[in-house]
Subunit: 241 residues, 2 copies
């Protein structure tokens, strides 16, 4: 049994009998890539109303219409970690976003650091990667991707009660111990070259920052991010039982 | 302080005063990419003798010579998981290999399943990805990449005492519970479309196979593999304390 195609829609509210209109890009995807036709079923979600089955009513060259039929999954919150990360270069950044969505991150926050050398892609590019990953992995929500901010500025503005900082210097407590069942931790992952001495001093002096160890070898930025999210997910699975 | 360049060499045995000759590809890398010159230092490892500092003695267009000077890290075993995986498509397979090496896998075993649709790249391509990842993350060993085998054939031939099978049907115990401090588990990750009903029946009937849950959403093959390895690594960090 092949899974039904699954699309995130920005609007409208999903409810029985509602008509959803798709733009040219998604119409092309359904018609040409998936080769769907009028009458075929598609799953829709919008981050708020759960998951609904809809059916293709009309399929033009640049526009498709779907009729929403039945709710298959009720809305429910998807609490998860917030990930602060120094963005790696392009493909690695895309991977980081895709995997973070799959693993259950709730919010992705690029932080600019002294050794960040990267110009971020347009935010709509990252947003569309996150949407695709959410469609594919059957999440009901798409994590927010926050605008990039300098590390110190984000710390001052968001003032997290606890920031678990992946410390390549290897001085922290093991992550699995430090996580301690927290459902919505905030993680911080540094750039490929590490934090600058000034940044490290600032982090160490900050009362909310807890350094955590990531293991005996060096992890790339995107691997460290995925590692932290995977460990959170695994411990939450245990706690949910 | 920038880290010294780090190279894996196949031979000879590393010891003080030994001369190591590099081929054209690695000579090009040191001379043109890293812009090193005679007298510059490089770290060498070969999977058996630990990590050594060496110095460039001669640097031609297609050949370089290094003189091994001093051992910086003693050899030590790097026990880790064996990963059986249905290979995803090309770029995702490359990521899987890179991340598995970074996270500490000891052995990578492609398994052919009913829904594997993939022709594997040449094994030397995967090997060179594994070597690059090991160089980058400062491992002392490069994991073996085994030849691809059919799932049933590998099960019969290798007869693992316990095979932790990442079960997307969601029926298994949580991975973090099932792992239970095992230092060298064997993991099995299926293909994008899942195992066939016959494969699932075979796995369920096998006394060594333990289904484990990977969380509430669907993970891609490479994400499931990275997830299992990350959780192993995190629990081992706790056990090592």
């Amino acid at each position: 049994m092949a899974a039904l195609p699954r699309l995130h829609v920005e609007d409208p509210r999903l409810a029985a009998e509602v008509t959803v209109v798709l733009d040219a890009g998604r119409t092309h995807y359904l018609a040409r890539v998936l080769r769907l036709g009028v009458g075929d079923a598609v799953l829709l979600f919008n981050g708020e109303d759960g998951e609904w089955r809809a059916r293709l009513l009309a399929l033009g060259r640049r526009r498709a219409e779907l009729l929403v039929e039945e709710r298959l999954r009720a809305p429910r919150p998807e609490p998860g970690p917030t990930l602060w990360f120094a963005p790696p270069r392009r493909v690695r950044l895309e991977w980081l976003v895709e995997k973070a969505v799959e693993l259950g991150a709730a919010r992705l926050c690029p932080v600019i650091t002294g050794r960040s050398v990267v110009r971020l892609p347009r935010s709509d590019r990252l947003r569309s990667l996150a949407v695709e990953a959410a469609e594919q992995c059957r999440r009901l929500t798409v994590p927010e991707i926050a605008p990039a901010r300098a590390l110190a500025e984000r710390l001052a503005a968001e003032d997290p009660p606890l920031l678990l900082f992946g410390d390549e210097a290897g001085e922290g407590r093991p992550l699995a111990e430090a996580l301690d069942g927290r459902p919505e931790p905030v993680f911080l992952v540094g750039p490929e070259g590490g934090f600058t001495p000034a940044e490290r001093a600032m982090l160490r002096a900050h009362p909310a920052v807890l350094p955590v160890g990531l293991g005996p070898t060096i992890l790339r930025t995107e691997t460290a991010a995925i590692y932290m999210l995977a460990v959170w997910r695994a411990l939450r699975e245990v706690a949910r039982r």
